[in-house]
């Protein structure tokens, strides 16, 4: 089995979790929500508790409940040497999805003493609870793994408030389970043995041939939420733990489990239980909702829009002869620059006439570009002579003038304190594409070159090694970039490892494909100091709605070469199309400038589509690093504050046998905006990609500065969904 390596963009999930716990601890000192705050606050009363599998449920059994839409639950549970760590996400109001990493101590199966496995679950809320109708849900547990937890269920849950004059709420759950959740478990002879779909014994594919097959057993339970803090649970479990009992992991003396849970804070719930008549168990549940920040964003108020005197009151002020002066644009630029700087914006280019102005600027502070647009407009209203009526605002991303927002100055003056100020301004604002060049522009004298650097610690984690589930390297990372001309960038970074144990793994690659990703261990062992990246890139706009990039150099840890990309994305379009072609050579393991013999031409044609309501899809079709041909489907749920949760899978012409464990490439992407934790405006994000296993099939090149994400944040769709912030 190879080393299971994950790729990381910026930060680690573990660190993110740690921050989350820390911030949750800070948040706990705040008061719990009062009764009239239901609509915006997550009342813990409304959020179901989790079971040992990290899904809404009883103790070891599921219920038919769904989490509030968009909610995350992180659950850590332990009993009888069995630990399950689960992240659950309420992907849609009815669809719950989980990823789990579970371990069983002294299991002694499959050649492992301690058995560890990853699994995915999904649950669909088929019927919502009504006055007399219980909620009804269908679930698939471990539906694509190697199968030890694989089971299916149909379950109903009904809530009763103050039943029989008892305090609190009682939820009654009953259901039927198959596989793991049935007498005889997954090894019931009547249930087809798990074969991993069509994938031999590699796991990773939906095991639909076993779903709802074999014996079915009933389960049931009661959850009594006595008051805001205390909950009691009692269940009849249908899981017989046959294999565990046989292997001596636990003694199963009873079908009945019971326990108590304590709601420590809005986000944290702790439980203690007695399971199967022989074992004590514990469970810690943390729930977060992207819609509810740990610290609400507080942005220093802008100054009120400066209103011009009327033309009648001061005709002198409205004269237009200033525009004749050759020095007017530079004078206005010099007045605007400090004004914009105060707002966290940087002037990129300015062009003015007597009646209109186009300001091209860089948003250096706010996650939401709508705030930047609003503040840029206020700055123009403060500085420009009264005769300038039309404000054209262009957000510039890394020298790409992205989209054009046109606001009339008189609207800005009239609408600021309207009851529906944001909607009113939106109705009279124009959105379009920015032209590649601005006619008659003046730029700051120090426009280029720009030098940036950072030196600091880094942590690279590696998960799911069966010998040691969490490994990490840490050390110092230095990065620098130099923009010597518009659109040009020379950038690089070096890492020096001070400590770590990724290289201690003994699990070298067993891949039969070109080892384009599974040589991670060799790279870790190769050298303590390595050049992570060193590249030169140029990006520009060939047309109003097209974007281009060329990058060459040491693009990532494992590959060096050239990469070219062209993207078509009109500001108002939900659809974007892109094409990327790369020619790369594998880098030497020592992390220096050397290259190995493996060379590949890889590239993709991509379609991106915004479905609305924050759902986003991407389809990439092309040739991957190992020379395999296929496509990647990515589906992402995005929240307007920058949270994004996505899942992806890649199918190529590599057979699942050749691919190895997991059968095909798949994973989860998670992005969390830092201002969600801090409550201060910042554009930084923490993002990570978790793969259950990293193999060589369906592997894509990592290229710094792909165009799509640079471009679309400042376009009409993103601006309109954040528009409520334009006056902030």
């Amino acid at each position: 089995m190879p080393l299971h390596r994950t790729t990381f963009q910026a930060f680690t999930l573990k660190t993110a979790k740690r921050i989350a716990v820390m911030c949750a601890a800070i948040a706990m000192t705040g008061q719990l929500a009062s009764a009239d705050e239901k609509s915006t606050r997550l009342l813990h009363k409304n959020q179901p508790s989790q079971n040992f599998y990290g899904l809404p449920g009883l103790i070891d059994m599921p219920s038919a409940e769904a989490l509030p839409d968009g909610q995350f639950a992180v659950t850590l549970s332990y009993f009888a040497g069995i630990s399950r760590n689960t992240i659950t996400f309420q992907a849609t109001p009815r669809l719950t999805a989980s990823f789990r990493y579970a371990g069983t101590k002294d299991f002694n199966i499959g050649g492992f003493v301690d058995y560890r496995d990853r699994s995915f679950d999904i649950r669909y809320l088929a019927v919502r609870e009504k006055r007399y109708m219980p909620a009804l849900a269908v679930g698939l547990q471990d539906f694509a793994g190697t199968g030890i937890y694989s089971g299916e269920y149909v379950v109903a849950t009904k809530t009763f408030n103050n039943p029989l004059s008892l305090p609190g709420t009682i939820k009654v759950t009953a259901g039927v389970g198959w596989g793991r959740l049935a007498d005889g478990g997954v090894f019931d002879p009547a249930r087809p043995r798990f074969t991993g779909g069509t994938s031999g014994s590699n796991g990773g594919s939906p095991s639909y041939d076993t779903w709802f097959r074999g014996k079915a057993s009933p389960f049931a339970g009661i959850e009594w939420q006595v008051n805001d803090r205390l909950g009691l649970k009692l269940e009849y479990s249908s899981d017989t733990y046959d294999r565990e009992v046989r292997q001596g992991v636990l003694e199963r003396k009873s079908n009945v489990n019971f326990g108590a849970e304590y709601q420590y804070s809005e986000r944290v719930r702790l439980g203690a239980y007695y399971l199967y008549g022989s074992e004590f168990g514990i469970n810690a549940q943390i729930q977060l909702n992207p819609r509810r920040a740990l610290n609400p964003l507080r942005i220093s108020a802008p100054r009120a829009v400066v209103v011009r005197p009327t033309r009648k009151a001061n005709p002198e002020a409205w004269r237009t002869d200033w525009a004749q002066s050759a020095s007017a644009p530079t004078q206005l630029r010099d007045l605007l620059m400090p004004e914009l700087q105060n707002q966290g914006l940087k002037l990129y280019a300015l062009s003015v006439t007597a009646s209109s102005a186009e300001l091209r600027f860089i948003n250096q502070r706010y996650q939401s570009d709508s705030i930047a647009v609003g503040r840029a407009a206020r700055s123009l209203a403060r500085i420009l002579p009264p005769s300038v009526e039309t404000f054209k605002l262009v957000i510039v991303q890394n020298d790409l003038p992205v989209s054009l927002v046109t606001i009339r100055r008189s609207d800005l003056e009239a609408l600021e304190f309207q009851p529906d100020a944001a909607d009113a301004l939106f109705a009279v604002t124009g959105f379009g594409d920015a032209t590649p060049q601005l006619v008659g522009e003046v730029r700051p004298e120090d426009a280029t070159p720009k030098f940036s650097y950072s030196i600091g610690p880094y942590v690279d984690p590696s998960y799911f090694d069966p010998d040691k589930p969490v490994r990490a390297d840490a050390g110092i990372r230095a990065a620098a970039s130099y923009k010597f001309a518009p659109g040009w960038k020379l950038a690089g970074s070096i890492k020096h490892r001070l400590i770590g144990n990724i290289g201690d793994s003994t699990r070298t690659s067993n891949s039969v494909l070109p080892r384009v990703r599974t040589n991670g261990l060799l790279y870790s062992q190769g050298s303590t100091t390595r050049l992570s990246q060193l590249y030169l890139s140029k990006q520009w706009k060939p047309g109003n709605s097209t974007y281009a990039r060329v990058t060459a150099g040491y693009l990532e840890q494992m590959f060096a070469g050239v990469s070219g990309e062209l993207l078509w994305k009109p500001s108002a379009s939900r659809l974007a199309l892109g094409v990327e072609a790369n020619y790369v050579k594998q880098r030497d393991f020592d992390g220096a400038f050397g290259l190995l013999d493996y060379t590949v031409a890889t590239g993709h044609v991509s379609a991106y589509y915004e479905f609305g309501n924050g759902y986003h899809g991407q389809l990439d079709v092309g040739r991957y690093l190992a020379g395999d041909i296929g496509g990647t489907v990515t589906l992402t749920r995005e929240f307007r504050n920058g949270w994004a949760v996505g899942g992806f899978f890649t199918l190529t012409d590599v057979s699942s046998a050749d691919f190895g464990e997991g059968s095909f490439d798949k994973g989860i992407n998670l992005t969390i905006p830092v201002n969600w934790f801090l409550g201060k405006p910042t554009q930084r994000t923490i993002s990570t990609t978790i793969r259950p296993i990293q193999r060589d099939g369906g592997a894509r090149l990592i290229v710094p500065g792909r165009l799509y994400e640079q471009v679309r944040g400042a376009q009409k769709k993103a601006l309109s969904s954040d528009w409520a912030r334009v006056w902030e």
Binding site: A10, P419, F639, W676
Partner: protein, 229 residues
């Protein structure tokens, strides 16, 4: 485990040593850590030196050349003294006054009725004050619909529709920093899907709101506002 502890210790050391510069907004671990460090530092500083409540007197107010508004956020019991930022009229009734603190918080009133807050977090983005203003102007019973837009954590704002009735509580004399005023106490009771909220206004003879307690949304809660000068 030992290894991980060492890594954590290294990270903490690194947190102290991290530095970056230049104009490019980088998204490295260093940059994130640096930001986290700033916030932790600020929090520690504010815990060490909690804001002492400033004892304001009429003599101090008399020395000021500009107006002064005292605003207390009830839920946190934090009080701030605001100075005028801008005055404005538009096509709706009531004069708009933007009151601001030096630290970047704003409270916007339309003839004394709260229409917006800024810089407080989960702010009142905007609000329609017409019905309240009518009732205040009529010095008593009246009412109507009010719409509020309250900022949420996903870069949006949600609409709240309130059905409000204003009634006279009675004549009351109030003290505002060593001065006594005869006022009419009006209470506006509003029903919404979130429950009932009550706004209180103490209005002088000429119809000016001298003191009030107004609801700014489900998170901010009530603001106590006194016009000091």
């Amino acid at each position: 485990m030992k290894h991980l502890t060492k890594i954590c210790a290294g990270l903490c050391l690194g947190l102290l040593a991290a530095c970056s510069g230049g104009e490019d907004s980088s998204n490295s671990q260093t940059a994130v850590l640096k930001e986290l460090r700033t916030v932790v530092k600020e929090n520690r500083k504010s815990r060490k030196a909690p804001a002492t409540k400033f004892q304001i007197t009429r003599a101090i107010l008399d020395l000021q050349t500009v107006g002064s508004l005292e605003v207390t956020v009830e839920s946190t019991n934090q009080t701030a003294y605001l100075i005028p930022g801008a005055f404005r009229t538009d096509h709706l009734p009531g004069k708009i006054a933007v009151w601001r603190t030096i630290t970047g918080e704003n409270v916007v009133l339309r003839d004394g009725v709260l229409i917006s807050t800024r810089g407080l977090g989960r702010d009142l983005a905007s609000s329609d004050a017409s019905a309240s203003l009518r009732a205040i102007k009529a010095r008593g019973n009246g009412g109507g619909e009010r719409r509020m837009q309250v900022r949420n954590d996903v870069n949006g704002a949600f609409d709240l529709l309130l059905q409000c009735e204003t009634a006279v509580v009675g004549n009351e004399s109030i003290d505002i920093i060593e001065l006594r005023f005869q006022t009419l106490h009006l209470r506006e009771t509003c029903q919404s899907t979130l429950g009932t909220v009550r706004n209180d206004y103490w209005v002088n003879q000429s119809g000016k709101v001298l003191q009030s307690r107004q609801w700014a949304g489900p998170d901010l809660g009530y603001l106590k506002i006194r016009l000091l000068k």
